[in-house]
Amino acid sequence: MNLDAREPSGPIEDRWTQHKASSKLVAPANRRKYKVIVVGTGLAGGAAAATLGELGYKVQCFCFQDSPRRAHSIAAQGGINAAKNYQNDGDSVYRLFYDTVKGGDFRSRESNVYRLSELSVSIIDQAVAQGVPFAREYGGLLANRSFGGAQVSRTFYARGQTGQQLLLGAYSALARQIEAGTVDMHPRTEMLDLIVVDGKARGIVTRHLVTGKVEAHVADVVILCTGGYGNVFFLSTNAQGSNCTAAWRAHRRGALFANPCYTQIHPTCIPQSGSYQSKLTLMSESLRNDGRVWVPRNEEDVGKDPTKIPEQDRYYYLEERYPAFGNLVPRDVASRNALYVTNDGLGIGPEVDGERRGVYLDFADAINRLGEQTIRERYGNLFEMYERITGDSPYQTPMRIYPATHYTMGGLWVDYNLMSTIDGLFVGGEANFSDHGANRLGASALMQGLADGYFVLPFTIGNYLGTERNFDGVSEDHPDVRAAVDDVNSRISSLLSAPKAKHAPQWFHRKLGSIIWHQCGMSRNGEGLSQAIDDIRELREQFHREVKVTGGEGEFNQTLERAGRVADFMELGELMCRDALDRAESCGGHFREEHQTEDGEAARRDDEFSYVAAWEFSGDPAQPTLHKEPLTFEYVKPVQRSYK
């Protein structure tokens, strides 16, 4: 297979403009003849569906939630980057591009990242015009903050609810198109398969989650904006429904899956409190600006009241190990070090399954220095949220935090047009692999989702349709369509009739998550990954033998929904471990213990691994085929990161 990224050439700042100029268009009167399917209504999907509808295409849009407004983009707290340089602090499109390529540890495609930076400025204009109430200064202009250690203030925010406000902006644009009749919205409808006819994506098979009806929807183009696969870890900051099924089913139908091992573990989440835990809650990264991270120096102190542990018995491990950056080291470094100190038996908080997995984030010094009032103004809402969940007040006792899976940089492979290896199947937002390399910078996820949705996909879809032009009519009776529907129905039947039905789907999900968290989480090694591959395969066999799903297919059946999603996570999980095993280097969020510098930092091996690993499904989840897209860096020369 030839992985042609279809990157334009020439000076990087002209590539997107040139590409647009040389692409095909569809005349306004012809657009209504084309049917476009959009799956997912987060920032990427909602924005794409609204914009394509506005352009005049016939759009069918799907989400599994009860309303398009609930997609998990809504939970993003921090902000959205844009190279506006409103602060006059030296920011530029080039600098945002540079920071993103470097932050991704030189594992992303330069042309895509440059385009993302270029489009970032239009996103802010668009959002403000929609009525997104970004934070403002007293003069009435937009406020910015520095985020995640960036040297410029380029992050726009709406209190701690930036994702919510941006999503509601996209949702309102979508609502307007639904009212106008250009978008047909299908909530509570889950995509369970992709329909491919003559090598082209021509539709999807869905199940209506209330009635259980399985049906085919045919179209000329399919766009997946179905988010990431962080819930493969069982516990993550993702929503309960977030799943990989749409992407995984597309993968099984021929779309290559790129860099599945690149996952981001966010350092500041509220630790697990018991084995019943269903999700982990993120606390904004901004807390590390004033909080100091520590654990007790002595193992016998781990169960003590932290306020009674004297200063000399506290181990401020980030400040000691990284004097230059201290508590503000990048996410992956902060996360990994929390793992190391807890592995050494210094973790704090309640024991869950015999381990204490937590570290302190202490605001006592900041409160002494700045006063409680200042801290309340900066973090009041976060402290309240923490207290609601844990029952402890961070004004009186240190917060307990621990890393949790937050974002997945890997996803379906796409070219510069965001088209996958299946013609006519486009992928946007977190579901694709394209822009963040091996590690995503803070406040960049919202930017990418909206850039893809508002500005890239509406354009590249036009180019595809304008190039292909004539689509043979594919009806619901086409044999390939019927075969896809039959496939879905038989998968559903087998989930409902496991031979030795015994455990609920969540039981298996928890087991899978535990394997992946321990062997393919913050720190990975060859032996552990090989073991994980075997363990997952065994668990998968047990799942299909023993999963217990009550109720039937023709009804509202949340157990059946869960079972289908867990089944696909079982296969994706194995691919993740395989990719992590194959990538014998450390980069960004992927840390291989065998490949570290003398200081214990991630050691990249550019000579051998400067490529995108794109996996092809061979028919057997245990035998995927690896394809490589080499990465070249013309503008940002690879360097080793250092935070000492």
Binding site: A47, A50, Q65, D66, S67, P68, R69, R70, H72, I74, A75, K84, Y86, I124, D125, Q126, V128, A129, Q130, G131, P133, F134, A135, R136, E137, G140, L141, R159, Q161, G163, Q164, Q165, S172, A173, A175, R176, I178, P187, A239, Q240, S273, G274, Y276, S278, K279, P350, R388, I389, G391, Y454, A504, Q506, K548, V549, T550, G551, E555, F556, Q558, T559
Partner: protein, 257 residues
Amino acid sequence: MYLILHIWRQQGPRDKGHFERHEARDVSEHMSFLEMLDVINEQLIEAGKDPIAFDHDCREGICGMCGMVVNGEAHGPQRQTTTCQLHMRQFQNGDELWIEPWRASGFPIIKDLSVDRSAFDRIIQAGGYVSIRTGSAPDANEIPIPKGVSDHAMDAAACIGCGACVAACPNASASLFVAAKVSHLGLLPQGQAERPDRVRKMVAQMDAEQFGACTNHAECEAACPKGISISFIARMNRDHLKSMIASSDDVEARPAK
């Protein structure tokens, strides 16, 4: 903790429904309310029984998908807290809890604790937006907005669309939900062009969806997990009155589903 739960079970919109008694044992105070239900559901599945259906997604109080009435209070006893953020330390050992779905004719029951809130989407579709074409926006700093105005708009925009306001209202009115969107957009300069039409269209749709009128009980504000003020309802009513007097044309609501 040990708790006695009376949980509303209803097969579908036409089923009569009933309370079913469950006992929750060994409940940790650190569990969220939904995690307590997860544990019961896992036990029900393993026993071959039908688990309790309820909607939920983000479990961090922002998506607005969860919501149930606990002992007569929408989202339960804790102020400004969604059901998913409610933790069991709010209850005492031995407590008896009645758990019900949102009850309103505008929110038909799907199953057990899950209801159909698509009426809210239709109200937004009626006019809850600024009609701006993608790519046609002026520079974001072209129109300065006083910080106080922007903050006030954000107070209204914080609505998560969960429907607790409707569930808490004796009239099952959706006024707080509609007022939040009308005010968010009506306060900002970007929303002025469509302001008179927007409020009339959205209110007409709210009426068509069988939500009741506001009679100032203020139960909605007390139940709102985001603390949205009923002063926005007064604002909406003023806008609506002005628009009714000033505009000559009528608006038509789409029929409710």
